[in-house]
């Protein structure tokens, strides 16, 4: 089974979304919050295991075994392993493009999905497009490694429209971040 390594996500997302804001700058802003929060242990996902992923059919989730790479307007498209919402590809947008008039959220939740063409796992950022009413087309709710609210960056129920001019949810994209 491909072990999902959420430990590695944060820094990657930081680089993707924070642009020129350095990690040092961010940490300095943590201030009081860091003091109040105990240092977290690493989540119980073994880094050694992650280094030698088992991507045999027996180790793949039902979604991964049935995923396809041809049609990104279908719920079984490989990148959608943890998406919840309407697909922007069905709403006039693209796999990493918001439909006209909507706005990509600067933050997102993430998934780790296996591309059946190369058998490799990739980190996917599900960035919501915000500021327009729900598109209503191609509703999907896949839950590979989707967790609950206390681990929000792996939770697909949150409306990830923070930092946008409107929090109205329109649709979700599935952006490639890199190899998982």
């Amino acid at each position: 089974m491909t072990k999902f390594n959420p430990d590695a996500i944060g820094e990657n997302l930081l680089r993707r979304f924070a642009g020129r804001t350095s990690r040092r700058g961010i940490l300095s802003r943590l201030g009081l919050a860091l003091v109040a929060a105990p240092v977290f242990p690493l989540l119980p996902v073994s880094r050694a295991e992650a280094a030698k992923p088992d991507r045999t059919p027996e180790a793949k989730t039902a979604f991964a075994r049935n995923a396809q790479t041809k049609d990104d307007t279908k719920c079984d498209y490989w990148r959608y392993c943890a998406i919840d919402g309407t697909l922007c590809t069905c709403c006039g947008g693209g796999i990493h493009s918001c439909p006209a008039g909507s706005e990509p959220s600067p933050v997102s939740w993430v998934g780790s999905c296996i591309n059946p063409d190369d058998g490799k796992a990739y980190m996917i950022a599900y960035r919501d497009c915000c500021g327009k009413p729900s598109c209503g087309q191609c509703g999907c709710d896949n839950t590979d490694r989707a967790t609950q609210l206390y681990l929000p960056q792996l939770n697909n129920n949150v409306i990830w429209c923070f930092g946008t001019s409107s929090m109205e949810y329109h649709c979700s994209t599935a952006m490639m971040i890199g190899a998982a």
Partner: protein, 386 residues
């Protein structure tokens, strides 16, 4: 660090805290993608603009050729959509309360850029009728300079909005009448409870209201409010509950052509208002669509008795307005409540049913080209030839 950056950093640090990310950095793979935002083509003749059902806040745009959604315009509940004839903007007449179900009432025409679909401005208005499903309450003039927005509170009036200066001009009282037909160079015309067509000739800050002779019975055999208007020919096409079709020439002094029966045009018995008389009747919310280039009217029809003006359709009837003949009848499988047709040579019909599903039908053959689930339950708009 700008304020915006600080805010963003504040958000991102939260992720750091929440997820325990004191971990090594992943190498950049070069595969990462950028988030982008699409733009729209100018409004196309092949597009259908379909309102969502009750509770929906958007109108989806579908391409009749592909059946695919190409975008969405934010149209709050019970709003009305207008298309700038020049294709530069969409206008949404809407009513919003400051706290959703309560608070301060705000009426406005919201202006969206047709290319980016971004909100350009809001034009405050003193009110409008909150109603679903009517296409004749908010009308843009042929020159694109003026909008007329029907108001009912419950006194009847029409708000005049200057779309160039983007400001409300004034309200014109219109007692006993409703539904707006553009009347270029004159003002607008409306149907009235006394069975007449009223014409409001606007002259600066005054207006003169004239009426035709009564030509229909508003209580016994009403004309559907969702009538059709051909801007090129300056003709309105009216249809009554029994199926009487009449064509009106719109101008300073409108004239109404002699009505004919849609049933008779199909070689059937004229329909009556009497109970127990089973016949074909028109029914639906957006009950008919006019293909202006061929002067063909497509009507949603069902079998039944009179007083069934909202009944789901079983067939689409094509009426040639020149020969006054029904030239085609297409069955509809799952009922239909709204019909519209593209104003190009393709002449593609869309019909939506009460489950919010849409079908795109070739008007020449009756063939279903696309079925679109959850397309929307409200009325359908197309780009009109000017």
């Amino acid at each position: 660090m700008t304020l915006g950056q600080a805010k963003l950093a504040g958000m991102l640090l939260a992720s750091v805290i929440a997820g325990a990310f004191a971990a090594p950095v992943l190498a950049e793979t070069g595969e990462a993608e950028e988030a982008t935002v699409m733009t729209m083509d100018a409004p196309k003749s092949g597009w259908f603009f379909v309102r969502g059902g009750w509770g929906s806040n958007g109108s989806s745009i579908f391409d009749s050729a592909t059946g695919k959604m190409v975008g969405m315009i934010a149209t709050g509940r019970d709003s009305d959509l207008g298309i700038d004839p020049a294709g530069k903007a969409y206008y949404v007449a809407e009513t919003i309360w400051s706290k959703g179900n309560r608070g301060t009432r705000q009426d406005m025409v919201s202006v969206y850029d047709a290319k980016t679909l971004k909100l350009l401005t809001e034009i405050p208005t003193p009110g409008r009728l909150v109603i679903g499903g009517l296409k004749t309450n908010f009308v843009i003039t042929d020159d694109g300079k003026t909008a007329y927005d029907y108001n009912f509170d419950p006194a009847s009036s029409v708000n005049v909005i200057d779309l160039v200066k983007r400001k409300f001009v004034r309200a014109i009282e219109l007692p006993g009448c409703a539904n707006i037909i553009p009347n270029p160079g004159v003002g607008f015309s409306s149907l009235c409870a006394d069975g007449t067509l009223a014409t409001v000739a606007i002259k600066g800050s005054t207006q003169e209201i004239t009426r035709t002779e009564p030509f229909f019975d508003a209580a016994a055999d009403p004309i559907f409010s969702n009538f059709a208007y051909d801007r090129k020919k300056k003709q309105a096409v009216f249809l009554t509950y029994t199926g009487l079709i009449s064509v009106a020439s719109i101008g300073a002094k409108p004239t109404i052509g002699a009505p004919f029966s849609i049933q008779q045009a199909a070689g059937l018995r004229v329909a009556d208002t009497k109970p127990l008389d089973i016949n074909w009747y028109p029914g639906g919310m957006q009950v008919m669509a006019l293909h202006r280039p061929t002067a063909t009217l497509y009507v949603l029809m069902h079998k039944g008795e009179y007083w069934s003006p909202k009944e789901s359709a079983e067939e689409i009837w094509a009426v040639d307005l020149a020969t006054k003949k029904v030239t085609k009848r297409f069955p509809i499988k799952d009922g239909g409540g709204n019909i519209e047709i593209t104003q190009d040579d393709a002449a593609m019909i869309m019909v939506t049913d009460n489950k919010n599903n849409a079908r795109v039908i070739d008007s020449k053959t009756g063939e279903i080209k696309h079925t679109i689930e959850n397309a929307g339950g409200g009325h359908i708009t197309v780009v009109e030839p000017m």
